[in-house]
C-alpha cells in the first residue's frame, strides 16, 4: 500500500498511469474490431510509421505530436484503402510500409543527431514521455472512443461481423472504417512514446485475443478486453516500478501472462464440455481445431449413458 502511495507521489508517474490507462483502454476496444477484421498488423505498421515521423520531426526541430498524428492518420487511410481495393495482399503492404518508415526514421536520425538514447526510448518506450498535454489528449481520445462504442455498438458489431450485409442494409460501412482508422492512428501515436514503437501494437492485439479464448459473445469480448487492458497495464506499471524494468516491456509481459492464463482456462473448460452427450447433427470443435464428425458423435452417444457429464481421466481420453 505504502509502495503505491510512494509511486503516486511522483507527478510523472501519475501522468504515466492516467495516460497509459486511457490509451490502453482505447487500444483494446479498437483492437477487438481490428483483430476480428484481420487487421491485427495495422497497429504494428502504424507504430513504425509513427516512429519514422517522430524521428524526422525531432531531426528538423519540430514538435513531434503535430507532425506525427497527421502522417500516421494518412498512413492509416492508405493501409485501409489498400486492404479494401484488394489489389495487394494487405499483410505484405503493411510489412513493406512499416519497414520503409522504420528505415527512414533510422537513417534520418543517424544523419543528424546520431543513434542516441532518444532513439532507443522511441523504440522501447520511456516512462517520462507522458506530458500534461498528452494526458489531456488521451482523455479526449478515450471519451471519443468510449462514446463511439456505447452509442454505435450495434453498428460496430454489424460492420465487424459482416461488412457486405451491413452495407446492403444501409449501414455506412466506409464511415465506420475510416473513424476506426483515425482513432487507431491517434491511439498509437499517443501510446507509442511510452510503450515504444516495437511494443505498442501489443496493446491493440493482446486484450482481444485473450478475451476471445474465454468469451463467446461479442459483448463479452469487448467488455473483457477493456477491463483486461486496464488491469494488465496497472500491474505492468507497478511491476516496472518495483523491479526497475522498462514500462512497455513489463506491460506486454503481463498481457502475455494473462493470455496464457485464459488459454489454459479455455483448455480446461473445453475438456469438460467435450464430454457432454452430443445432440445429433451438432458439430463440435476439438481442442486441436479439427471438427468432430457426425459419425463420431453418434458413436460417442451410444457408448456413453445419457446425461453423464463427468470428464474422463486423461488416460481414457480418445483423441478424435
Amino acid at each position: 500500500m505504502s509502495m503505491i502511495a510512494e509511486m503516486l507521489s511522483y507527478p510523472f508517474l501519475v501522468r504515466a498511469f492516467i495516460g497509459g490507462i486511457l490509451v490502453s483502454l482505447c487500444a483494446a476496444l479498437l483492437g477487438v474490431t481490428l483483430v476480428l477484421k484481420r487487421y491485427s498488423m495495422i497497429g504494428d505498421g502504424l507504430s513504425h510509421v509513427s516512429f519514422g515521423a517522430i524521428s524526422v520531426a525531432v531531426a528538423a526541430g519540430w514538435s513531434p505530436l503535430p507532425v506525427s498524428i497527421p502522417v500516421v492518420v494518412l498512413a492509416a487511410f492508405f493501409l485501409l484503402r489498400i486492404t479494401e481495393s484488394g489489389r495487394m495482399r494487405s499483410d505484405a503492404a503493411i510489412a513493406m510500409i512499416s519497414a520503409s518508415a522504420l528505415s527512414i526514421g533510422i537513417v534520418v536520425t543517424s544523419l543528424t543527431t546520431g543513434m542516441t538514447t532518444d532513439v532507443s526510448s522511441y523504440m522501447f518506450g520511456s516512462i517520462l514521455a507522458m506530458s500534461r498535454g498528452d494526458v489531456w489528449l488521451s482523455a479526449v481520445l478515450s471519451a471519443v472512443v468510449l462514446g463511439m462504442f456505447v452509442l454505435c455498438y450495434h453498428r460496430i458489431f454489424a460492420v465487424t461481423f459482416d461488412e457486405s450485409f451491413a452495407k446492403a442494409t444501409g449501414v455506412n460501412v466506409s464511415f465506420y472504417n475510416t473513424v476506426t482508422a483515425v482513432l487507431t492512428a491517434v491511439t498509437i501515436v499517443l501510446g507509442m512514446r511510452m510503450m515504444g514503437a516495437m511494443l505498442i501494437s501489443s496493446l491493440v492485439i493482446f486484450p482481444a485475443l485473450t478475451s476471445m479464448r474465454m468469451f463467446k459473445s461479442f459483448r463479452g469480448v469487448v467488455i473483457s478486453s477493456g477491463v483486461l487492458a486496464v488491469v494488465c497495464f496497472c500491474i505492468g506499471m507497478t511491476g516496472s516500478y518495483v523491479f526497475s524494468t522498462p514500462a512497455g516491456a513489463s506491460v506486454v509481459l503481463v498481457n502475455l501472462a494473462a493470455f496464457l492464463l485464459f488459454w489454459m482456462a479455455e483448455m480446461i473448460l473445453r475438456q469438460r464440455i467435450r464430454w457432454q452427450p452430443l445432440k445429433p447433427g451438432r458439430k463440435r470443435t476439438s481442442p486441436a481445431g479439427g471438427a468432430q464428425t457426425a459419425k463420431n458423435a453418434r458413436k460417442w452417444k451410444t457408448i456413453r449413458p445419457e446425461g453423464e457429464h463427468a470428464p474422463r481421466s486423461a488416460g481414457e481420453r480418445k483423441q478424435p
Binding site: Y153, A158, F165, A168, T169, G170, S217, R219, G281
Partner: protein, 261 residues
C-alpha cells in the same frame, strides 16, 4: 401478384468494365428465381446492383415501393473471418434489425401504423441507440423460431455447423425484411445432407411464408425442381424463363448433364 423488381436493358459494371450487359428480367412476388452461370459471368455484380450497392450504368432498374422501404434481405457469401467470430447467435440475428432503423424515408405516405413491419421505421432518438427496442427483440425471436434455432440462442456462432450458421444468417436476413431474400452461393461448404436441409428450408420459406427468393448458385441440378424461374447469365442473358424450358435449351442441357441426344 405484383412485380418487385424490373430490369429493362440494364448494364451493371465497374469503371471500365461491364460485368452484366443488356439484362432484362423481372422478379414477381413469391418467385423462386435461380441465377446460374460460370464464374465471372456477372452473378455477384447483379446481386450488388439489385441491393443498390452499385448503380446501373445504363437502362432502367425499378424496385417496388414496399421493397425500397424495407430493403432486401441478403445472405452474403461467408468470409473466412466469420468462421471464428466470437458472437452469440442472438447477437447476430438481432443485428439484422438494424436496417429498419435507417428507414430510407421516414414518415412515408402509405406507412401503416402498428404492423410489425413498419412500427419502428422511425428514426430513433439519439439516446436510445445503444439499446434494442422490445419490437426488435420480438422480431429477432420470431425469426429464430421460424428457422428452428431458438434453442441455439446463446450458443457461439463459431461453434455451429455450417448448416446451422446458414440458418442463423437467414434469420438475420429475415429480420431485415420478410419480403425478399437474395442468397449468394449459399451452399458453399455445406455437406450433402445439410444442402438438402437448406433447400427444404428455403422452399418452405418461399411457399409458406411467401418470401420471394433469388438464389445465386452453381448447383443447378439441385434447385431446378424447386425454382420457378431460371436466369442463366454469361455477361448477357443466355436464358430467362421456366425451368422446364431451360431443360430443353442447349445451355440448360450443358449445365444439367444427362439426356444425351
Amino acid at each position: 401478384m405484383s412485380t418487385l423488381i424490373t430490369c429493362r436493358h440494364v448494364d451493371f459494371g465497374y469503371e471500365n468494365y461491364d460485368a452484366v450487359v443488356d439484362l432484362s428480367m423481372e422478379v414477381d412476388e413469391g418467385d423462386y428465381l435461380c441465377v446460374v452461370g460460370a464464374n465471372g459471368s456477372g452473378k455477384s455484380t447483379l446481386v450488388k446492383g439489385l441491393l443498390g450497392l452499385i448503380k446501373p450504368m445504363k437502362g432502367e432498374l425499378t424496385v417496388a415501393e414496399e421493397l425500397r422501404r424495407t430493403g432486401i434481405g441478403y445472405l452474403p457469401q461467408q468470409t473466412a473471418a466469420q468462421r471464428d467470430f466470437p458472437a452469440s447467435v442472438y447477437e447476430v440475428v438481432l443485428s439484422g434489425t438494424l436496417s429498419r432503423r435507417t428507414a430510407r424515408s421516414p414518415g412515408d405516405a402509405g406507412m401503416k401504423e402498428g404492423t410489425p413491419e413498419t412500427r419502428f421505421q422511425r428514426r430513433r432518438p439519439f439516446y436510445k441507440w445503444p439499446f434494442y427496442s422490445p419490437e426488435e427483440k420480438r422480431l429477432a425471436a420470431s425469426c429464430m423460431e421460424k428457422l428452428g434455432i431458438s434453442e441455439l440462442k446463446n450458443h457461439c456462432y463459431r461453434e455451429l455447423s455450417g448448416g446451422q450458421q446458414q440458418r442463423v444468417l437467414i434469420a438475420r436476413a429475415l429480420c431485415a425484411t420478410s419480403r425478399m431474400l437474395i442468397l449468394d452461393e449459399p451452399i458453399t461448404g455445406l455437406d450433402p445432407s445439410a444442402i438438402q436441409d437448406f433447400y427444404r428450408l428455403v422452399r418452405r420459406l418461399n411457399r409458406d411464408e411467401g418470401v420471394t427468393i433469388l438464389m445465386v448458385t452453381h448447383d443447378v441440378a439441385g434447385v431446378i425442381s424447386q425454382a420457378n424461374r431460371i436466369l442463366h447469365l454469361q455477361q448477357r442473358v443466355v436464358f430467362f424463363g421456366k425451368p422446364e424450358e431451360y431443360r430443353r435449351t442447349a445451355a440448360g442441357r450443358r449445365y444439367l448433364g444427362g439426356e444425351d441426344r
